[in-house]
């Protein structure tokens, strides 16, 4: 079962998205606190990362860059509720920094899971699903 590292500081969002991913057959490692140490410790163990951007303890964009540096093969999905300060577009920045997919909140968990599926198969986030 593929393991996904989910980094999100909002407890309810964390619960809902983790549940959705487990329902879809993935194993989820939840990281709400602990900062970069927890993230770095978990990176070798997982097959994909889903991370929020604006969090009190950890900067999502740092997670993205660290993940890409340590494990360039690891797909990273960035999600965001929007900046707390006006005029910041974090998702655009994440794209520029190498995120494999971006989702603004509130997202449809079905789209997130479908995208994770595609990325794990080695495709890109925008691959059109083929039925066979």
């Amino acid at each position: 079962m593929p393991k996904i590292l989910l980094i999100e500081d909002d407890e309810l969002v964390l619960y809902a998205l983790a549940k959705a991913m487990r329902n879809a057959g993935y194993d989820v490692i939840e990281a709400a606190h602990g900062g970069m140490k927890v993230v770095e410790a978990s990176l070798p163990l997982v097959d994909a990362v889903v991370t929020d951007v604006v969090m009190p303890e950890t900067e999502g964009l740092s997670v993205l860059m660290t993940a890409k540096r340590r494990r360039p093969d690891l797909p990273v999905v960035v999600i965001s509720g929007g900046g707390r300060v006006p005029g910041r577009n974090y998702l655009k920045q994440a794209e520029g920094l190498g995120a494999d997919a971006i989702f603004p909140k509130p997202l449809d968990e079905r789209d997130l899971i479908a995208t994770i599926g595609r990325l794990l198969e080695g495709g890109s986030a925008d691959d059109v699903e083929t039925d066979d």
């Binding site: 309810l12 998205l17 959705a20 006006p86």
Partner: protein, 333 residues
Amino acid sequence: MDLTNRFLVNRASFWALIGLWAVVSVFVGAVLVSFDAFDTFYAITREHEDWELDEYVIIAFIFLIGCVLILATVSARSLVVLQREIEARTSAERELAVARHLQSLGTLTAGLAHSANNLMQPILTLTRMTSESLSDKPEAQQDLRYVLQAAQKAARLFEDVLAASRSKQEGAQFADLVRALKSSAPLVRTALPSSVEVTFDLPNDPLYVGLNRTEILDILLALASNSADAMEKRIGAIRFLVEQVDGDGGNVRMVVEDDGSGIPEDVIDRVYDPFFTTKEVGKGTGLGLSVVFGLTQKAGGKMSVENRPENGTRIEIILPLATEVPTAAKDGG
């Protein structure tokens, strides 16, 4: 032009000064009379005609009068400079207050958006998932679908309302005043109690001014809430009128009239002061009209406030028409 106002002395203290000088003059005159001053002086000068005292006295007088004129001119010019400095400082303070106000509004909005988005996530996700798992309980499943519908509408509503205040408009410099007022009217009506009647009298053609949609909305809300606050028991009518004046390439006039209690005469000049308010503590910051004034100035316009003879206040804003509006800068929204 009222000289006393230009010279920073208000009417009352100017006349008090004149009155005081009149009293002093009378007193000095009385003293001179008691000493029979002029005759004594005349006798001395006749006794000593060779001293050329007459001429010295004349020279002294000419010199004294010259000094007085110089002093008066210098004082007048200093006062004018001081007046200009004070105006510059007040206008800078006003701009700062407006900027702070708008900035904190933007931050508030962004924070709200972030929270709203995070709150919608578990609502939508968990409702969808639970609904799917209830195929054996069709009624419960349907109920959850309704919950989802309502939640999705709420999400869209958040998006619309927050988008209206978001600084998507930060780059835009021009907007069609007529269209901005038309689309903001429902928002204004929502912001006021239903006992206040708001009417808009707008022309059919677009009128572009040097303000963007957000700024126009800010002006509208400030004017409307100021008018509403001046109404007894919050019952009354506010009327907005927009028309083009002074021909093509001219100006736009926006008039706001209400039938509230008006602005007391002694405070009417202070309404532009960013922190002046007659509202009780805790009931509004008084920032309203100062915001309007700051934005009007930014757009190169003029604003005047006066009380209506019948009842209430009339605020008139004249803004120059933006004639050279590059199409890309035109706010389509």
